[in-house]
């Protein structure tokens, strides 16, 4: 194993340059280091001007998503030893505007997430005195996978459709909508259908499947979207055959 490794990092300093450039740092190689450790080493020891987001260091907060050698990754869960002796190249996530160096702006996703109403909707709320809405472990299992999403945006960065059609609601937001649609306590599926079955919802997805491959939490957004297409299509056929039944 080599004692050092070349870490090439995308730099974008809007006050100095009009487009990103690359800068290479020689960092010590340690078997137990992840890419985020290497970035922190650069920040602490070599170049304090490097900007990137991170928080929990344990794959929970979803802040440290970046492209490592071209693939969207959580840098806190990507070991240097998986790449060395080859050089490592770190870039900001694709398709989001770059604010600075490795920091991207996620306003677009936050707006879309709000549109799909990712919370439990009840037609009538029961008073707190009557207790909580109960759920069996089996009912929990039907949506649990989709609830694991940490909003790290790796799926958006892996989705060429989001790159080509920025109005697409996108994998994580649809998976989270499906998480609430499948929750036995929720009654908001009809409200979400409107936004999800529009042009920018599920029908933009052409099932590339990369979102599922890069997801660090095994959420399977591609599966969520295809399942919802089936639901959407069934509802559409029903409304065609029984126009009075779905109102």
């Amino acid at each position: 194993m080599p004692s050092t490794v070349a870490l090439t990092v995308a730099r974008y300093r809007p006050e100095r340059e009009s487009e990103p450039t690359f800068q290479t740092y020689e960092i010590p190689f340690r078997k137990d280091w992840v890419v985020l450790d290497a970035l922190n080493h650069v920040k602490d020891e070599l170049d304090g001007s490097l900007s990137f987001r991170w928080s929990c260091r344990m794959g929970v907060c979803g802040s440290c998503g970046m492209k490592v050698n071209g693939t969207p990754k959580l840098t806190c869960a990507t070991f240097l030893s998986d790449y060395v002796p080859a050089p490592i190249r770190v870039e900001p996530l694709d398709y989001f505007p770059v604010v600075r160096d490795l920091v991207v702006d996620l306003t677009d996703f936050m707006r879309k997430l709000k549109q799909v109403k990712p919370w439990i909707i009840r037609t009538e709320e029961k008073p707190p005195a009557e207790g909580e809405y109960l759920q069996t472990p089996d009912q929990l299992d039907t949506y649990k996978q989709f609830s694991m999403c940490i909003n790290c945006m790796l799926c958006y960065s892996a989705c060429p459709i989001y790159g080509l059609e920025p109005s697409f609601i996108g994998p994580a937001a649809i998976a989270l909508a499906q998480r609430y649609n499948m929750d036995s306590r929720d009654e908001g599926a009809a409200e979400r259908l409107k936004i999800l079955s529009e042009h920018d919802g599920i029908w933009q997805c052409t099932f590339v499947g990369e979102c599922t491959k890069v997801c660090p939490k095994h959420v399977d957004p591609a599966g969520a979207i295809q399942q919802y297409k089936l639901t959407g299509a069934t509802r559409w056929v029903k409304s065609l055959l029984l126009p009075w039944g779905t109102r």
Partner: protein, 138 residues
């Protein structure tokens, strides 16, 4: 006052990278995806040939004979081979994607993916067998 942070909306110096026309060559699964999308052209090709066949059939035995002769030209044989390979690719890739869209629960347990893929292949075999039986019987 609005609670929205307005300063992000009018930030002047974001860098937005344009998506290259060659994005589908950047990684192998994108290329497979584009090829899978392209298979629809060849599915349509077979449909058009089939319509052409029906038209020839309606015009009588002479026209039908001519149709069969045209199908045997090297150009059509080559086209058919390429189209057949693409349609095969179409069928196989979609069979393997069905468990993503179709999730069945039996006694509270999710039916495993291989059962759903396998039943697609089984249906394919049975239908192909039925067609072959009908055609080869006479």
């Amino acid at each position: 006052m609005s609670a929205e942070p307005h300063y992000t909306l009018y930030h002047p110096r974001w860098y937005r990278r344009r998506v290259s026309v060659w994005w589908w060559l950047q990684n192998r699964s994108y290329t497979w995806f584009v090829l899978r999308e392209l298979t629809s052209v060849f599915v349509a090709f077979f449909a058009v040939v089939y319509l052409w066949q029906l038209r020839a059939l309606a015009q009588g035995p002479e026209a039908y004979g001519l149709f069969l002769l045209r199908l045997k030209t090297p150009l059509f044989l080559a086209l058919d081979t390429v189209a057949f390979l693409f349609v095969l690719f179409h069928a196989i890739t979609w069979f393997h994607l069905t468990p993503k869209a179709m999730v069945f629960q039996v006694r509270g347990k999710r039916v495993p993916d291989w059962v759903i893929v396998g039943s697609n292949y089984a249906a394919w075999l049975v239908l192909s067998g039925a067609v072959a039986f009908t055609l080869l019987r006479g």
